[in-house]
């Protein structure tokens, strides 16, 4: 029988506790989680490759066809936007997958139960996940944006239309696109917290970011013009453009960006509330 009510002294294996488990430890834990699964590396590698590769392909193609390009097309050609188009269009898709998986992978594997047993203060867990993902996404999107920009401009050098960071709007477009793509990831993270299912979260976010804008185009154009500035994808188009002046149907680039930022913050807040309130 293991029956024992007498308690032999166990030698302490840990230093006496002080304070309480909080945000710092959970932040380290979430960083360990994101860096210790292969899917993170694959996803980020794909993001870098498509962002830089597509930007380079568009730039090289444009340069090769420059002699056949009409003067009107040359006038509206946005060298900055062309070089970072890969990040803007496809990088966005990739980051949505990574963002959604931050929470849905915990649910699909059952790890959430282990995670919340180790750290039952759910607000802390959620906040740590958001911060770790945001930092990783920012680093990778900034790296992708700047490499894509410089590579693209060097490929466009023969056109004499290549952009430099000191030109008006260019730095805003490069940084803004990286920030926009990061926001898309956070938007997906929140969707993952709400839907708790990978496929559902990714499908919904792609629906909101890509499909709704396409459907909106089918509306009578005056309706579309009124609606356009409130669509989530408008932020990306406004922030990545450097030529052609202000689109009359959109807010100024940073204001347009702020619209999407507000959507993201609202969605993250809903996700946080549900994450705390629901049974795990």
């Amino acid at each position: 029988m293991a029956a024992t009510t007498t308690q032999p002294a166990r030698p302490p294996v840990l230093p006496p506790p002080s304070g309480r488990a909080g945000f710092g430890g959970t932040l380290r834990s979430e960083f360990t989680k994101i860096r210790s699964v292969r899917s993170t590396y694959w996803t980020l590698l794909v993001l870098l490759v498509v962002s830089i590769g597509i930007g380079a392909a568009i730039s090289a193609g444009t340069a090769a066809n420059w002699s056949h390009t009409s003067p009107s097309d040359r006038a509206t050609f946005d060298a900055t936007q062309a070089s970072i188009a890969g990040l803007f269009f496809l990088g966005q898709l990739v980051i949505v997958v990574l963002g959604a998986m931050v929470l849905t992978a915990e649910y699909s594997t059952g790890m959430i139960r282990t995670s919340l047993t180790a750290m039952p203060r759910r607000g802390t867990v959620y906040a740590a996940k958001v911060v770790v993902f945001a930092v990783v996404a920012l680093v990778v999107t900034f790296v992708a944006a700047f490499i894509a920009f410089f590579l693209g401009q060097s490929l466009l050098a023969s056109t004499h239309e290549s952009a430099t960071l000191s030109q008006p709007n260019v730095l805003r477009a490069v940084i803004g696109t990286a920030l926009y793509v990061t926001l898309c990831g956070l938007f997906a993270l929140a969707a993952g917290a709400i839907l708790r299912h990978t496929a559902a979260a990714i499908t919904s976010v792609i629906g909101l970011l890509f499909v709704i804008p396409i459907l909106a185009h089918l509306l009578p154009s005056s309706w579309y013009q009124d609606l356009e500035r409130w669509l989530p994808d408008a932020a990306g188009r406004a922030i990545s453009a450097t030529v052609g002046g202000q689109d009359p149907h959109l807010f100024a680039p940073w204001n347009q960006f702020a619209v999407f930022a507000v959507y993201t913050v609202i969605l993250l807040a809903v996700g946080a509330a549900l994450f705390r309130k629901r049974d795990a």
Binding site: M1, A2, T32, K33, V37, R113, R121, D279
Partner: protein
């Protein structure tokens, strides 16, 4: 110490736990028994704050689980060994858990050593067998060196070696003075480890008593002997005040009223050769069966009339013969198993 007070939880229109109250005392092994679907896992999830109760409250050392300063240093809980991200190595899985409670990194290596997973520490968890996953889960519960451990059906699906390992581990943890709260749907799992029993059925408390009380309540143990001199032994046993129970088609005798040592002594004194001497406690399992008979969720069609045991009759006689035999076998198997340790 865990205090459960008036706990209720329903999922949709299914009541999982219904006004449940009990406490788990420190320094003991408390068995949490009930048939499948009785609400054991739900209760454990409510204790850990994974689910929120519809009514009632749970405290651990006077606090809600989520309010504990360092939860892993006070409670080590394993509900589902497969609740792990399969793409993460055992080492990194434990590391990310340790970090949430500011536990030193060296603990990861120590608990891996303790459960015997050091060699596969860098292997991804998706390749682990159930037994290895169970070890990994238990390693996680030990990271914070907690005084209270909670395991949900820890031997379910394990091979005999794994079952033995878990049993010995629970005994060792209890011997160190830790509180162990362990659930099972098998009485036989509790027989050798639990000091206290909490039995539930359909989400309600059926019994909350010590193991001794539970044994006393049931109709006691019998001794099974097999011998080529059965008649001689039967007479000697009867002289000594024991009773030879009817049955035993294989020529073995089932004796009640004497402890195993007495039976052995009698055999020695009368020069009776024994080929086997086993304690059979079918009645303990039977007592559990009786207690939970009305609360079993799904039962086979043949006893669908839900006949409740006849009061006043010994439990053994109330059970259909094949079932009793099967239980005798299992209890027996266990003892000989123990004998090989």
């Amino acid at each position: 110490m865990i205090e459960v007070r008036g706990l209720s939880k329903r999922y949709g229109d299914k009541i999982a736990v219904n006004n449940l109250s009990f406490s788990v005392e420190p320094g003991k092994v408390t068995g949490f028994l009930g048939p499948n679907g009785a609400g054991k896992t739900t209760t454990m999830r409510l204790i850990l704050g994974l689910d929120y109760p519809d009514a009632g409250a749970v405290t651990i050392a006077g606090k809600q689980y989520a309010q504990l300063a360092y939860p892993m240093r006070e409670v080590g809980a394993l509900i589902d060994a497969k609740a792990v991200h399969g793409g993460r190595s055992a080492y990194n899985h434990l590391l990310c858990l340790a970090q949430t409670n500011n536990l030193p990194k060296r603990r990861v290596g120590e608990v891996l050593e303790l459960v015997g997973l050091t060699e596969v520490a860098r292997k991804r968890a998706k390749g682990f067998s159930l037994g290895m996953s169970q070890r990994l889960g238990i390693a996680g519960t030990l990271l914070g060196d907690p005084a209270l451990l909670m395991f949900d059906e820890p031997v379910n699906g394990l091979d005999p070696e794994g079952i033995l390992w878990i049993r010995n581990l629970m005994k060792a943890l209890a011997a160190e003075g830790r509180t162990v709260f362990v659930s099972s749907h098998l009485m036989s799992e509790m027989e050798h480890t639990a000091d206290h029993l909490i039995v539930i059925g359909r989400g309600q408390l059926l019994a909350d008593c010590t193991m001794e009380e539970f044994i006393a309540r049931s109709s006691g143990q019998t001794v099974r002997v097999s011998t080529p001199q059965a008649e001689q032994l039967a007479m000697a046993v009867a002289e000594a005040g024991g009773t030879v129970l009817p049955g035993g088609s294989d020529g073995a005798l089932t004796i009640s009223g004497l402890i195993p040592a007495q039976v052995g002594d009698i055999a020695f004194e009368h020069g009776v050769r024994l080929h086997e001497l086993t304690v059979v406690r079918a009645s303990l399992e039977a007592a559990f069966m009786e207690l939970t008979a009305d609360s079993v969720e799904y039962r086979a069609a043949e006893d669908g009339q839900g006949q409740s045991p006849v009061p006043g009759q010994p439990l053994d006689e109330q059970l259909p013969a094949p079932e009793l035999a099967a239980q005798g076998q299992s209890a027996q198997g266990q003892y000989s198993h123990e004998g090989r340790i």
